[in-house]
Symmetry: C2
Subunit: 473 residues, 2 copies
């Protein structure tokens, strides 16, 4: 086990009499339990579903996720970096599929350093490992099949329905943390209080997950070193490798397009036109299409993230669309930041929770925005010349100014720079690029004139260059 | 009773077997009951509170409202225009109070026609009259003290808790209409369904209502022919006349300012600095300040306004801040538009409800936006020279182009032009004004040059004029 950097198991002896209720044993909730137990809190985690480690069918949500720097940093700080590294398949770039029978795949490296990568990781396996890790602490107890009914802010208590026994139980603690997902019950209670700003916005695009099985010889059917994208302007297919050599393929497209595909023949025809190479590898797509559910994409934001001694973290506070692969990474960052605030304020929750709201609302708003904007980038821009040119330019600038010029994608994915600062820095870079674009023809013109003036023999070349420039303007 | 224009009592014989549940017996709900009964529907209105006509204390919400054209149009169409006209006090303009001991009041006419006016009307009295009017129809039944618990979209049924008996009752109907206010239970159920976009945003300003009693001789203490405003940039006091010769005075200011006034002496000092004339007329303000609650200001919007056979109207669908005096007017317009759609689609609710969403979401979004923007206008602009100049310009333009140039305020208040069209037209007018502002100096310069050229003796005058112009640029 890695060693935690700032917290050791049970080292924080001032908290042993303090109890915390965590609502939701998903990725954020189970990591939260580990962090809190390390600080010496007694932690009770209540989860609506049954224990996913013993469940026959695991409900809902996407199959695999892209773990990157922020997520890994939070795992490492809790001494669990190895989990992220062992369970994932590294993806070093995007692999673009043109709309052809047998496209030549185009690899676009993610980082400025070829070694930088995301890890494609199974949500369920990661979650199971985190629950098990949390359970190893005697201070942590999981209560499955408990549905949250009511939150009482004044008493810091919460009522659950034990769905196995039918009993209603009321639990009280020093602090309640709701990490109960995009449709959070704890947030629903907050929403009924005054001065709670909230919005939920559904995209008119939806998604459907499909499986690309391993080849007959048990190997991957596509290169496994990247995230596959079939960009088709207003819709796209993406593919992430799994450890079992399959790929999880996700179709993102407008709800209306999903509705327009009514028969298996419709689906087969649609794939044969837009994704012919994917159809060849997944001939059973028409069957999968109707067997698998269509998921909606929602963007939720709210402010504050707490009231009294109740706070929300993870998707409960900021569900985002998946186009930046930051959903889980941001949830894990929430937990790490909460831990840093506990450290800073000596576990004084009266200071910690307002500070959590102050820093997380602006940063999670920022990543929600970036994720929304990135749909266009993934589904369309990645195949445009302008985009590739800018990517080259960013790489060059980063080579000369490694600390101050980091491409937007790298700041989000391969750094722990606060998201709101990422937006500011990226807007500054865009302004610089804009100015260069405006200034470049003028500088070129001046240089050409000088050249023509002092080196008469270069005039033919200069004339040609100016003609080219004029054509471009 | 006025005669309804398109619907007569019980005339619509095709609907007699159809039943409708209305949730909420506020202004929108009780008017809705009248309209639906006129179309021949069996209507059950469920209301959480007790009957306000017999209640000793009526909970919550602002005391008086400004009824204007949209509200009156909807009342008239239901044959109840007389209610609006009898119960209100006409207000022909704004009456501005400068920050002085004994300010000279400045009257700013509302309309382009001096006869155009709003009616200051009591919420409670109006609501009582509407409930009584609805109850006159045998088809309408009110159920008070029924709290809405659960809405079932598939069954078009809804569960209530009878708070008198403690019984739970489930009511089923052909259609459920939720007019249960800003904190709507019906909307809360909608919010849990997919593809329901929703946001609630609290202003950092709040409000507190105060009463300015009649004079000792039973007369008004201030002129009653207008809406009084004490604009103080970031906060303000407004006053609306009541039939009993009192005024309802409302203080709007940042929550933090409310919190900073902690003692009666603080309040007295605050009023003596900013509202000295109001304090002289209301010496008991410090007592009232601590006796009366501070209300929050919320902006709620959502899309769609329906699902299956359940829809929401009024504040449930679009709570707005009160700065355009359009809350009630917009609610009443919802009801009138619903009636027009029922007429258009022959009471086919499968067509009516999607059409209601299509038209009302964009129009209610528009008035919510306008209301939000109008805070600056009321609390600040009304006392600025630029604003008064633009008002004069608009009046002049309207004189020449009465149909195409209507000031924004008049379109909102004295017309039934759809709110979204109001915004478009007002933006066009602003663009024209912008162009005139840009062009005016050029035109003036040209005219001055011609003048100087052809009439040498005018040169001194022209020189002076140009110097003045230069000073302004």
């Amino acid at each position: 086990m890695d060693s935690g950097t700032s917290t050791g198991a049970g080292e924080n002896s001032g908290n042993e009499n303090k109890s915390i209720i965590v609502v939701g044993a998903g990725l954020a909730g189970s990591l939260l339990a580990v962090y809190l137990a390390k600080r010496g809190y007694k932690v009770d985690v209540y989860e609506r579903r049954e224990d996913i480690r013993t469940a026959e069918i695991v409900e809902g949500r996407s199959i695999n996720l892209a773990l990157s720097t922020r997520g890994l940093t939070a795992l490492e700080k809790a001494g669990m970096g190895h989990i992220g590294r062992q369970l994932g398949t590294p993806m070093y770039g995007r692999i673009i599929h043109a709309q052809e029978e047998d496209p030549k795949l185009q690899f676009q490296q993610y980082g400025v350093d070829p070694k930088q990568h995301l890890m494609s990781i199974s949500r369920t396996v990661l979650n199971e490992r985190l629950i098990t890790a949390a359970e190893e602490y005697p201070l942590v107890k999981f209560h499955f099949k408990h549905r949250c009914l009511k939150t009482d802010f004044a008493k810091t208590s919460i009522q659950f329905l034990n769905e196995e026994t039918g009993e209603t139980v009321t639990a009280t603690a020093d602090v309640i943390l709701g990490s109960d997902g995009a449709y959070s019950s704890v947030r629903a209670a907050l929403q009924k209080t005054q001065y709670f700003n909230f919005s939920q916005y559904f995209l008119d695009h939806a998604y459907k997950e499909l499986t690309l099985s391993p080849a007959a010889d048990g190997s991957y059917q596509l290169p496994s070193n990247g995230l596959h994208i079939w960009p088709r302007e207003n819709f796209m297919l993406i593919g992430l490798p799994n450890l079992d050599k399959s790929f999880t393929i996700t179709l993102f497209m407008p709800v209306k397009m999903f509705e327009s595909l009514q028969t298996k023949e419709d689906v087969r025809r649609f794939f044969s036109i837009y994704f012919p190479d994917a159809l060849r590898l997944m001939p059973n797509v028409p069957d999968q299409y109707f067997a698998n559910p269509t998921g909606s994409l929602v963007w939720i934001k709210c402010d504050p993230h707490h009231k009294d001694h109740v706070a929300i973290l993870g998707d409960a506070a900021h569900a985002m669309v998946p186009f930046y692969g930051q959903g889980m990474n941001c949830c894990f960052e929430d937990v790490r930041v909460l831990d840093e605030l506990l450290e800073k304020y000596n576990d004084d929750w009266d200071q910690v929770l307002p500070a959590l709201t102050a820093t997380r609302t602006k940063n999670t708003d920022a990543i929600c925005q970036l994720s929304y904007r990135n749909y266009k980038e993934m589904s369309s821009h990645v195949s445009h010349a302008d985009y590739l040119l800018r990517k080259k330019f960013d790489t060059m600038m980063n080579y000369f100014f490694p600390a101050s010029w980091i491409p937007l994608y790298s700041m989000v994915t391969f750094s722990n720079i606060p998201y709101s600062e990422v937006i500011e820095r990226s807007e500054w870079q865009d302004r610089v690029v804009g100015k260069i674009k405006t200034a470049a023809p003028v500088v070129a013109l001046g240089a050409a004139s000088l050249l023509a003036l002092y080196f008469p023999r270069s005039r033919a070349f200069v004339r040609q260059a100016l003609t080219n420039l004029a054509d471009r303007l």
